[in-house]
């Protein structure tokens, strides 16, 4: 079942660039990047540091703990074999809806180095 959750105001996110929200017991990091909204699991897959305390640089979400760099769209980590979970995002009437049960894109085991 689809479970879209109303989590944030688009104007506020556009101003703050990033926000930590919660849905279904899961901390979610929202990033506003080049006019688009991305939702990732806040807890880094590497060492569980909070991504929201990191930053966005050159189109990548950078974890504050050990500077792992994630593609905000796919969750793919640069030079790593793992993916940060992402969530589907929908913006409607200035509100941001996230579906914590559905990834932004189908997550398949990506091998970053095989490209």
């Amino acid at each position: 079942m689809d479970e879209w959750v109303d989590l944030a105001d688009m104007t506020e996110l556009a101003r703050r660039k990033k926000m930590r929200v919660e849905a279904a017991g899961e901390a979610i990091a929202l990033f506003h990047l080049a006019g688009r909204v991305y939702a990732l699991q806040d807890s880094c897959v590497h060492k569980q540091r909070s991504l929201i305390k990191g930053t966005v640089l050159h189109g990548r979400v950078i974890c504050p703990g050990h500077q792992w760099r994630f593609d905000p769209e796919t969750g793919e980590a640069e030079d790593q074999d793992v993916c940060q979970p992402t969530y589907a995002v929908r913006v409607e009437d200035g509100r941001i809806y996230v579906n914590p049960t559905r990834p932004a894109t189908p997550v398949t085991p990506l091998r970053a180095e095989s490209r």
Binding site: K53, P64, G65, Q67
Partner: protein
């Protein structure tokens, strides 16, 4: 990216050899294949294992022995990418004319070589035996883990990063820890006295007994353990001693080939040695860095990655020098410590956040500009500070201290 940049004159290499099967080898091999290099790649390593990460050896791997995420390359990847691994085979020589690499029972042709032989731990004269440990390899970590048991008495010699992390991990495993450090604060050489003292407090708060300003005179082994004697006249009984007093770069191979060596193998910001088509990266390389204004030999994961990437690119005629600020982290007692930049002297240290709460970013200022930062659980600040360090423009201390100022906006303002 353009493929038409030219770095080295002459034809592109057809056979590349990496000496040393660690972080640099893995990164160089990946970079070369990603850039479309389809010639031969051989990785020759003295250690019998697939390339693995060293940072976890004093941290999570030492604590748990969990190999998840430890290895950098798999046999499958190497087979798929036609990267030849020759493990457990020390390189005996490098011919400076032909570039060929000599092994015990073979000679390998190469027209570009990356030397990434790393370092070996310094030891204390006269201090050895089954209860004395150093930490460099996975095997070292496995051996040390066995003695880090609840109630074990561990003496750590040296409060540098390795010693500090070993102490933290030993505490996490329930051992009792005494650190003996020659200087008056931990990490003094890198951080200075003020921030070194902060790290000292962190050790003490976590139950470590810090013995500062004393050196080890000797270690005598008895039937039930060792006794460590110090210059201050202490006699410390212990089950094991961990010597963490730095590494010596393994430069013999390069020196024998006539390559310029000064502390490490001297290279430029693309990893080039004094010998054409021979590169060096990682702990063994003393690299020129524009933000340092000279050569520096670092023992950091990130430097190894960046310099070996630069070297791999340079081999293919692509100029992508390592010029970003240096960066490293150290996880101790659940605190994420990070350092960026390079400063051996400074005018003042400006603290943003709280030292007592171990939640801060300390800026090392020289000539009004940020040269380095040291932070505890402030990785986001460090990322922004790297931008400030890279630009080297003067910043007001009051602005840095002000938590209401967004450091990233500040860094970006300085660009404009």
């Amino acid at each position: 990216m353009s493929t038409e940049e030219t770095g080295i004159p002459g034809t592109a290499p057809s056979d590349i050899v990496v000496i040393g099967a660690g972080q640099c080898a893995a990164v160089a091999a990946r970079t070369l294949r990603r850039r479309g290099f389809d010639g031969g790649i051989q990785i020759i390593g003295a250690e019998p294992e697939l390339p693995y990460q060293r940072p976890p050896l004093s941290k999570e791997y030492l604590e748990t022995g969990d190999t998840d995420g430890l290895f950098l390359l798999t046999e499958d990847w190497c087979a798929d990418k036609d990267v030849q691994l020759r493990l457990g085979e020390p390189v005996l020589g490098l011919d400076p004319v032909s570039g060929s690499v000599r092994l015990a029972d073979d000679e390998v042709r190469a027209d570009a070589v990356l030397i990434a032989t790393g370092g070996r731990p310094r030891t204390l004269p006269g201090v050895s035996g089954s209860r004395v440990h150093t930490l460099r390899t996975r095997a070292d970590a496995d051996r040390l883990r066995d003695v880090l048991v609840p109630g074990a008495r561990i003496v750590v010699v040296g409060a540098g990063f390795i010693g500090s992390e070993v102490a933290a991990t030993a505490r996490a495993r329930g051992a009792d820890v005494v650190i003996v450090e020659a200087l008056d604060t931990p990490l003094r050489r890198v951080l200075g006295a003020e921030m070194g003292a902060v790290c000292g407090s962190l050790h003490r708060e976590n139950g470590v007994d810090l013995v500062l300003g004393e050196t080890v005179d000797g270690v005598t082994e008895g039937s039930a353990g060792v006794t460590v004697t110090t210059s201050g006249g202490r006699r410390i009984d212990a089950d094991a001693v961990v010597v963490g007093i730095g590494i010596e770069p393994v430069t013999g191979l390069a020196a024998d080939a006539g390559i310029t060596v000064a502390d490490g193998i001297v290279v430029d910001e693309q990893g080039r040695t004094s010998l054409p088509n021979v590169f060096a990266a990682g702990d063994v390389a003393s690299h020129f860095h524009p933000l340092v204004g000279g050569h520096v030999r670092t023992e950091h994961f990130d430097s190894a990655n960046r310099l070996s990437t630069a070297a791999a690119n340079a081999m293919l005629g692509r100029s992508q020098p390592f010029v970003d600020p240096h960066w490293f982290w150290s996880d101790q007692y659940d605190v994420n410590l990070q350092y960026a930049g390079h400063a051996t002297s400074w005018d003042e240290i400006v603290v943003r956040g709280s030292l007592s709460d171990v939640d801060f970013c300390a800026f090392y200022l020289s000539g009004g500009a940020v040269r380095a930062v040291f932070a505890a659980d402030r990785g986001g600040d460090v990322l922004a500070a790297k931008e400030l360090i890279a630009r080297g423009v003067p910043v007001s201390p009051d602005v840095l201290r002000d938590e209401d100022v967004d450091l990233f906006e500040l860094a970006m303002e300085e660009v404009a």
